[in-house]
Symmetry: C2
Subunit: 396 residues, 2 copies
């Protein structure tokens, strides 16, 4: 944790902005809490800040162990001293998105009525999330980001950052993302939501008042989403059709939200065991109402919506240097969508490079050890830093 | 409905075989009911029978309106007088699979204990389903099928038919299928099952004793499966990102198992509305325990399991004429799996043709109006009939 961060944050890594935020839906939410973590040191000129935007179920624990799971930060292999996003050189900020459940204002927060917002939390958009981050930067006195970087939903935030505040982002990298949520993406999200609603512990979204969580529904949502994050090749290589004894061969036993049942011949497939574990562990760290709120924001994301479907329009005249990255086996955010984004940026006259990384590990590739991606990241960040005239290896 | 069928079936289109069936799991189930429908007329030589095998959620209502939904039979466009599977020439049989819920013995049937089997229904395999069909043919006095034809799970039954009873099938067409269920297929099925278990009306599988059905869980399972039946292109073309007013904008209202909730700005995406309808209507015609039983059978299907992974081994010396058909945009049963099957048949020395149909409508293409597929079907069936020396246009 950086020294600077301790100076700026008020309590437990949460910045409270009393003036709050006006949302796209017309409501005003105040105060606004933003939970964030920073790494590295902000230069005196405040010109070396990189905002890293997390994905749907990510959070601000970017490069340090997660306080709930104890696991390494979600991009520990990418962000740190000497790593592609080098904290010896850059000041890296990662904040929990508006609507999240790791300290930023969201459905778990207390509403003006004095109880949790729950399902009454206002509908939010990706742009609302970006505006909240902009207020955080204002609070830090950072006028302009050296770079905004993110994958999946984080990539949408990056795109929206440049569309909304083009003067505030010198360089932008959008990874494994798309300029809008496709019908298939929306469909999967809708099934996730229905799985949560189907849980008896859902209680119309007021589960917190009943001292329960809709663990089974949320686990089902996570299991399904997890399949979409992996390629068929990755699943086959990891699990194939291997079976193991079913430890819960007796029907009906519950463990962390997922029910085991009598399986054929007392066996279960390893991929089933893996998915059940993914589902069970997720419910211990994520809030169902946050999941609903954020998936809605994802579904409504469409950069061209205010421009008659013209994806180039939001970027005309933009000076930000762009890098768009996709992974060949990502079927949730396929290369075709990244390419369409890169072409639109080209049409808008923006300086953009487009890289498709060969990988057979699906959407999750952006979180995994992919040396080609690391090289692309390092090259883009250092190239942009040179262009910006940033001191090499400078700690401000 | 054919005359012959009326003569053979005992009540309501159900054939009851008192001796029952010995299952792969070691249990013996008796009596065995098989619900079936037939079209056309069996020739005196009983050499013009085509068995059509239905998919996971299909049934015996192949070419006539469904008694519960009133919709046309699932292959009405393919089976009938003058159609590619020509009932003026062939006697077409379609039976509800063992484990199903449209009249064949399955979890809804009454067990020897005097109540519904429910989750105590024995685990079954695709081979068990095929053995049950073979008993039905014995009952009809049909020694050898002119052809076995099926798509998706139906295609697995076709493959298993030839592997188990090579002498009883002259020609076989396996469409949009695979010789084993992949890790991704298993993963999706497992999420379906967990969705059913998560429903408060599941009651450990004894929902029938509580006079309810786990409608919400089953609807979620169906919604998710439905996404996998369509291609991304098909979803985009059908729905894109179009929105409509949400008729259930008030949170928590229930309709046919699916809950509407307050959506962003009171709108919902058309793809959401479509999926909810798919989920709701499914629960009115399908039993949850059947869904669990049949998906298990699918997951355990692996033709090479008894042959050290050698897919050719079960087919060495087989005289059956094969046609393997895939659809280019089918990502649930991709062309690669059909091609592997065709190559294995080739290695085994089997007469096999392999056709990939260009279509952007995904797995469901085999149920849709695809003229290239119709031509392939007509050509294969007529070619095989000529080879078999069947009378042209013969009604026996």
């Amino acid at each position: 944790m950086s020294v600077l961060y301790d100076n700026l944050a008020t309590r437990d890594g949460v910045v409270t902005l009393p003036e709050g935020l006006a949302l796209d839906c017309g409501q005003h939410i105040a105060p606004l809490d933003i939970a964030c973590r920073t790494y590295g040191t902000l230069s005196p000129a405040k010109d070396n800040a990189i905002l890293v935007c997390h994905a749907l179920t990510g959070d601000q624990y970017l490069a340090e162990p997660h306080p709930l799971t104890g696991k390494p930060g979600w991009w520990s292999r990418m962000v740190g001293p000497g790593l592609p996003i080098d904290t010896d050189r850059f000041f890296v900020i990662c904040s929990n998105v508006l609507g999240g459940c790791m300290g930023s204002t969201g459905p778990c927060s207390i509403s003006p009525k004095g109880e949790r917002w729950g399902t009454e939390f206002p509908p939010i958009t990706i742009r609302d999330m970006v505006r909240a981050q902009a207020l955080l930067l204002d609070h830090f006195g950072i006028e302009r980001l050296f770079a905004a970087i993110g994958g999946s939903m984080g990539g949408m935030l990056v795109l929206e950052w440049v569309a909304t505040y083009p003067e505030r982002v010198f360089a932008a990298m959008a990874v494994a993302t798309a300029p809008y949520h496709s019908a298939q993406n929306i469909a999967f999200n809708e099934v996730s939501r229905q799985a949560i609603y189907a849980d008896p512990d859902w209680h119309g979204g007021r589960y917190w008042a009943h001292d329960v969580v809709p663990a089974r529904g949320l686990a089902v949502a996570r299991m399904m989403a997890h399949i979409t994050y992996l390629s068929e090749e990755a699943l086959t290589r990891k699990f194939g059709r291997r079976v193991r004894r079913d430890p819960k061969a007796a029907a009906g036993s519950t463990a962390g939200g997922v029910i085991g049942t009598a399986s054929l011949f007392g066996e279960m497939f390893e991929v089933e065991s893996y998915l059940r574990h993914q589902g069970s562990s997720f419910v211990n760290r994520f809030d169902a109402n946050s999941y609903l709120t954020i998936t809605r924001a994802l579904d409504y994301f469409d950069l061209s919506a205010d421009h008659d479907g013209d994806l180039a329009a939001p970027f005309v005249g933009v000076k930000t240097r762009f890098c768009v990255v996709s992974f060949s086996s990502d079927w949730l955010f396929p290369t075709s969508q990244s390419r369409a984004m890169a072409r639109a940026l080209n049409r808008a006259g923006v300086n953009v490079s487009f890289v498709e990384i060969e990988s057979d590990r699906g959407h999750d590739s952006f979180l995994l050890d992919e040396p080609d991606f690391d090289r692309t990241m390092r090259g883009f960040v250092n190239g942009a830093a040179e262009h910006a005239g940033l001191r090499r290896g400078g700690r401000g």
